[in-house]
Amino acid sequence: MTESTTAGRWSERLLGANGWLLYLFLYVPIFVLIVFSFNDNQRVAVWTEFSFRWYGEMLDNDAVLRALRNTLIVAAVATTISTILGTVAALSMERYRFRGQRSADGLLYLPIIIPDVTMAVMMLLFFAQAINIASHVVRLNFGLGTISLAHIAFNIAYVAVVVRARLALMEPQLEEAAADLYASKWQAFRRVTLPLIMPGVAGGALLALTLSLDDVVVTSFVSGPGSTTLPVYVFGLVRRGVTPLINAVSVVMLVASIVLVGISLGLQRRSGKTSPLIE
């Protein structure tokens, strides 16, 4: 792509300028936030001196800690279950042919397509109705249970997409070879298929975990008293204004998500394939 003309050199320069400016646009807000989270001043944007004060206050704040605990519980439950369900859905869609498969395809893709506000509305009405009906037998309420069930509902689709992409890369002949060597269906799955699709399963699980840790809209619709998660709690605070405490909490959330990216990139490097998400 080497250009010797003046026009070529100029377009090359413009491309580079656009590239670096876009990186600045993406990273400056994040860096400024990180720097100011170590600012001692009560007034957010006036720099006084470096301190861990707000991180200390965060650790003393019961509401933040409770929200963090709720977030981790929901994320653990939702990630585990949605990874299993998403993987079996991917296997059944990629490895078998059955009637009604196209409808199943629609059912699997729809949760990705619809906006989260719509998903939130669906979950609210469904659980309100379900709790109402169940009230004749047991008293249920909105809480960590409803949040987890809702998170699983939108996560399955994402896990299935990632695992399916991985399965599509794998040659089905490998399973046939295992069968020819008298491996049972289960042995072939356990010893051949599963290890090969493991990077996809892990990638799907990380995506589910990230989505679960990030979700604000759906969670705020189906959470009950005392079951606020960290993003919902922070969202509530942010709407009222900027505080140094939010800066500190935000940086912790940011670092957590960057660590997750690191893990996912590491997994991809080991498996030698780019994430199907880039595709």
Binding site: L22, M93, L107, L254
Partner: protein, 292 residues
């Protein structure tokens, strides 16, 4: 199986058993989605035909089309128009800056490409709420941008709580969704075709217009849909960066449930938004023809 005589009937039976096994393996996931996704979808649809009591309770009965008639009301049209306009602007800005960006990455050396791509992936995976908050923090009247501007003798920046702020926030939030499919399309492209065009004396710009751009079209369509859909339904970004008097579709729907307590109308609205999204996605599958 190998010792059996492969008659047509046996083969048919094996096929049926195989198909049954496929359904059985996926069953837990499909049942879950039927119960916790398809059924809720149906409930929303049913609610959109329900009526509302004067206290704001939803009456399941006395079915009518009132909520659906209200969806086509001029107030809603205005909100929908504003949301469509902002979502379109967001998509255009993401494309205008994202395309040269993806092109630039795709034409670097293998080594540089890896690093540059990771630098896009990090914001893509970072917590969305926090990234929006970072913009809010930066643009506030007492925020760092404003202070720098005042220190340089300028005016304090009053951009927060305007549509411009929402637009900046949405471009900031969604541009990675545009860059990644564009990059994938450009990277997969056969660059020898561009060289061939150059060998046939096509100037750089003509080669781009006639070869590169058409070949990257699937990426353009995929990226545009991936940006347009969340922008149209955006709730968090307008809530944090927008003013209290700029109502967009996302907050309008939410307010029907949390403050106005008009569930039938909110259900009709959210169904309508979903139909528009589905139409956009079907368009994408027809044009781009690729999965996510």
């Amino acid at each position: 199986m190998a010792t059996e005589v492969a008659t047509v009937e046996l083969e048919e039976r094996a096929k049926r058993a195989e198909s049954r096994r496929g359904v059985l393996i996926g069953a837990p996931a499909f049942l879950y989605l039927i119960l916790f996704f398809a059924l809720p979808l149906l409930i929303v649809l049913v609610y959109s035909f329900a009526s509302r009591s004067s206290t704001g309770a939803t009456i399941l009965g006395n079915w009518n089309l009132n909520s659906w008639i209200r969806v086509f009301d001029s107030q809603v049209a205005q909100i929908a128009w504003r949301s469509l306009w902002l979502a379109s602007l967001t998509t255009v800005f993401c494309l205008v800056f994202g395309y040269p960006f993806a092109y630039w990455i795709a034409t670097r050396s293998d080594r540089a490409r890896g690093v540059l791509l990771i630098l896009v992936m990090i914001p893509f995976w970072s917590n969305f709420l926090v990234r929006t908050y970072a913009i809010r923090f930066l643009m506030g009247v007492e925020g760092p941008v404003s202070i720098v501007s005042q220190a340089l003798g300028g005016e304090p920046i009053r951009i927060l709580f305007t549509n411009t702020a929402i637009l900046i926030g949405m471009v900031y939030g969604y541009i990675p969704f545009m860059i990644l499919p564009l990059y994938a399309a450009l990277e997969r492209m056969d660059w020898r075709l561009v060289e061939a065009a150059r060998d046939l004396y096509a100037p750089g710009w003509t080669a781009f217009k006639k070869v590169t751009f058409p070949l990257s079209m699937p990426g353009v369509v995929a990226g545009s849909v991936l940006v347009f859909i969340p922008s149209l339904g955006a709730y968090v970004i307008p809530a944090i960066l927008g003013g209290s008097n700029t109502v967009l579709l996302g907050d309008y729907i939410v307010s029907q449930f949390l403050s106005a307590r008009n569930w039938p109308f909110g259900s009709a609205l959210s169904t309508a938004v979903m139909i528009v999204m589905l139409a956009a996605t079907i368009f994408y599958f027809r044009r781009g023809g690729r999965t996510l």
